[in-house]
């Protein structure tokens, strides 16, 4: 508490006023304000898409604002170059740092500025200094081991040590705890305290409110690109913060249709995988849209991958229409009527160099083929059929899917799977990074699919989407299902509380 009061009286480092930034039609920052004071740990909170990452990237020099001002320690902050940001004393620690796996930790800390003496690189001095930095942070890392095989938590420490050696004054942490274990998180919080003791300022982005309340002094909450609340941690409660975060109004974006709910289509029983999730049991019925809510990194995508067969699992079973699916065999899953629209469409969902028609026909080759041969014409007519149904905008079927907009790319993925006429469709963050109009179309498509009797399991981090679309909601927290809610019981607060692990004490 003493620290918190000290922090608020100290001078302001970053002052951001009226920050405005748009990407094409999408507005990412809408007159956001943000003030960072010297020596404070400042939490930047908000749902996915609230604008936190964009703001962070502006400060890191990745993006340039379209409007608004940033001053750093009274002087204008030079935007638009990571190198310049660094030389102004700002460093970013990403969720997954990219170290040089074959180099030692000491060298990773001093990469490009290795310490030298008369004969060349002074390894012992470099090791000693790296060791001193690790000691300052209070972490017992061996500076002469290589970075390969280092845990993400330790990699972050190396990055922080690097920031210290660069004499950074401001350290931005972009969801550093999403992939860490509990004890690793505790250690990171101690490291953050150490940084604070050394007079550094830390911006901490996290979805886990308990962490925020344990370590931060100041909170800024963002929603829809604007700043909705700025408060001292000591002046607010977790419930306040949840209210600020989810205050978004449910718009008439979700054309939920009535559908007849039938038999169980997908049944998952006690699914566990060593490192990712444990004892997941869920059911999705025909005609039903079931949401799997939770924070990024809570293991939702991993569950989807295991159900579909991309990854194998250790125990449990997956039943499709009462038939058990063998693990790790996506081919059999598809043949039995399962489809997965993966979270990363560019890496996982599409072949970016390939044409729209090749992409849409990927799963239908066996049906399109005569004697094992596929004709371009049959692929094109399939593409035209589904392009019309889903209103995909593409110049011609042979155009590389790379040239399509994000929304149309995602529709292409959907078309690819709809074409197989699956019984069960798993969609993982289906509307991430898509403009509002396409989003609505997408939701209508999912709704229609459910109305026609398909079972849909939807993974989403956007609460309005979850509440607007789902008949039933499962909430995941740290690899476990912690709550099941029906459509009429669910509220944004209830979901967020469960997803951040707050509800556990009560139940």
């Amino acid at each position: 508490m003493a620290q918190a009061s000290k922090a608020t009286t100290s001078r302001a480092l970053f002052e951001i006023l009226g920050a405005y930034k748009h990407f094409g039609g999408a507005i990412a920052l809408n007159h956001a304000d943000f003030t960072l004071r010297a020596g404070e740990i400042h939490a930047l909170l908000g749902e996915n898409g609230a604008g936190k990452s964009t703001l962070l990237k502006v400060l890191a020099g990745v993006h340039t604002l379209d409007g608004g001002t940033i001053t750093l320690d009274g002087k204008p902050f030079i935007q638009g170059s990571p190198r310049m940001a660094m030389s102004q004393g700002v460093t970013v620690i990403y969720q997954e740092p990219s170290l040089f796996p074959d180099l030692t930790l000491a060298e990773n800390v001093f990469i490009g500025r290795q310490l030298r003496n008369k004969t060349g690189i002074n390894w012992s001095e470099m090791r000693a200094q790296a060791k001193a930095l690790f000691d300052e942070l209070g972490v017992d890392l061996d500076p002469s081991r290589i970075a390969r095989g280092l845990s993400i938590a330790d990699q972050q420490v190396v990055e922080i040590a690097k920031a210290l050696s660069l004499d950074a004054q401001i350290i931005l942490m972009d969801e550093p705890t999403a992939a860490l274990t509990k004890s690793e998180v505790n250690r990171l919080m101690l490291v953050m305290r150490r940084l604070q003791e050394k007079g550094k300022s830390v911006v901490f982005v996290s979805h886990r409110l308990d962490e925020v309340f344990a370590v931060c002094d100041q909170i800024t909450v963002m929603r829809d690109g604007s700043t909705v609340a700025q408060s001292k941690v000591s002046d607010s409660t977790i419930n306040d913060v949840i209210k600020w975060m989810v205050g978004r109004e449910l718009k008439d974006l979700y054309p939920k249709m009535e559908s007849k709910i039938g038999d169980v289509a997908l049944e998952v029983n006690g699914l566990s995988s060593a490192s990712e999730f444990a004892n997941i049991s869920l059911k999705v019925r025909h005609g039903e849209i079931v949401a799997l809510a939770g924070l990024v990194g809570s293991g939702r995508s991993e569950v989807a991958r295991a159900i579909f067969g991309i990854d194998s699992y250790d125990s449990g079973s997956v039943k499709l229409n009462g038939k058990i699916l063998p693990g790790g065999k996506p081919g059999i899953s598809v043949a039995s009527g399962l489809a997965l629209v993966p979270e990363d469409r560019r890496q996982q969902g599409l072949f970016m160099q390939a044409s729209v028609s090749r992409n849409i026909a990927t799963e239908m080759l066996d049906k399109l083929a005569k004697f094992g041969l596929v004709s371009q014409r049959s692929e094109n007519s399939l593409t035209q059929e589904w392009g019309k149904k889903l209103q995909i905008k593409y110049p011609n079927p042979k155009a590389p899917v790379d040239q399509l907009s994000g929304g149309n790319q995602q529709k292409t993925v959907l078309a690819k799977w709809f074409a197989t006429n699956p019984d069960v469709l798993i969609v993982d963050e289906p509307t991430r990074g898509i403009d509002v109009q396409t989003k609505a179309e997408f939701h209508r498509q999912l709704s229609q699919a459910a109305a026609s009797g398909k079972a849909i399991l939807m993974i989403s981090s956007e609460l309005p989407e979850v509440l607007g679309m789902a008949d039933r909601i499962y909430v995941m927290h740290e690899g476990r299902l912690v709550k099941e809610l029906s459509r009429k019981d669910a509220t944004q607060e209830l979901i967020m509380t469960a997803a951040t692990g707050q509800g556990r004490g009560e139940s």
Binding site: R113, S151, V191, A278, N279
Partner: protein, 345 residues
Amino acid sequence: MIQKIAAFQTTNFKINAKTLLRRRESGILMVLVLVSVATTLINPRFISGYGLSDLLLNTSMVGCLAVGLTPVVIARHIDLSIASATGFSAFLTAHIIVGHGWGVVPAFFVGACVGAIIGAVNGVLVAGLRLPSLVVTLGALYIIRGIDYQFANNKQFTAEKLPTDLMHLSQDKIYGVPYLFCLVLLLALFGVWWMRFTRFGRDLYAIGSNPPAADIVGIKVFSRTFFAFVWCGTLAGIAGVMYLSIYAIVDSAAFLNQELIVVTAVVIGGVNIFGGLGTIVGALLGAVLLRVLIGALVALGVAQFWQQAINGLLLLIAIGIDRILSRRSETKIERIRDERKMEIS
């Protein structure tokens, strides 16, 4: 106040970079000693004084090329034109020095220059235009070979024409170590200093280890990669002059099709073909090991026809070991994940 917080797996497993590398190089050294001792026990003539210096002389060329290729491979590239460059340099150098009546030192200078120019062209194409090195150097292989043949035009230079100093050079020794091998050692020594004690060399490791990150942290990828190719070419040029000295005869077919032998030596020496890992000492040891094996097979009376098969097998074992080592560190990450699982449940 400041208490130590444990790091998460340094206690679990301690891969010290230095010991790991040392392990690899000491591993090759052990195999070397083992093969030599075993062979000597069966055939005592194998390791006699003459045999050893002969062995080192025969290793000089491939050793020199391995030292040259290593920085390129560490930077995640490859140079397939290396053997053609050697052959071309051998012939061109002979042509120039015979024409001018030059001696040993100018010969090496000329050879190095020829190689450096070839390396610079490769370097511009690979580092400057960012073309795939495999294709560029394969093309360079053809171009150099064609120019070599065209230029040589069935001529050859024999011992009578070549400067006698150069011919003697391959026979002279210090304490039983041939001069030529001493030259390789000197080059390797410089290479070790360069790759281990200069930022320039360390940048090559960084480039090979994580190319996108190398760009992000502001490493001068172009100049580093470019110079690696120039170095590789230069040493190929020098190896060409060694060829003149050792074989005392050169025609256009000199050192034809030997590029993959050099790659084999480098990989056996522990340089990862995907970049980022390996040392010049290791590559040199790899070259020696290849040669020792050939010598051992001869001494053991194994039909020389088996040599190549054994080379191939050795290379497979080498990359297999690399794979196992990297798998082992992966499984250790799995172990850490298990810890997380325990926390979850």
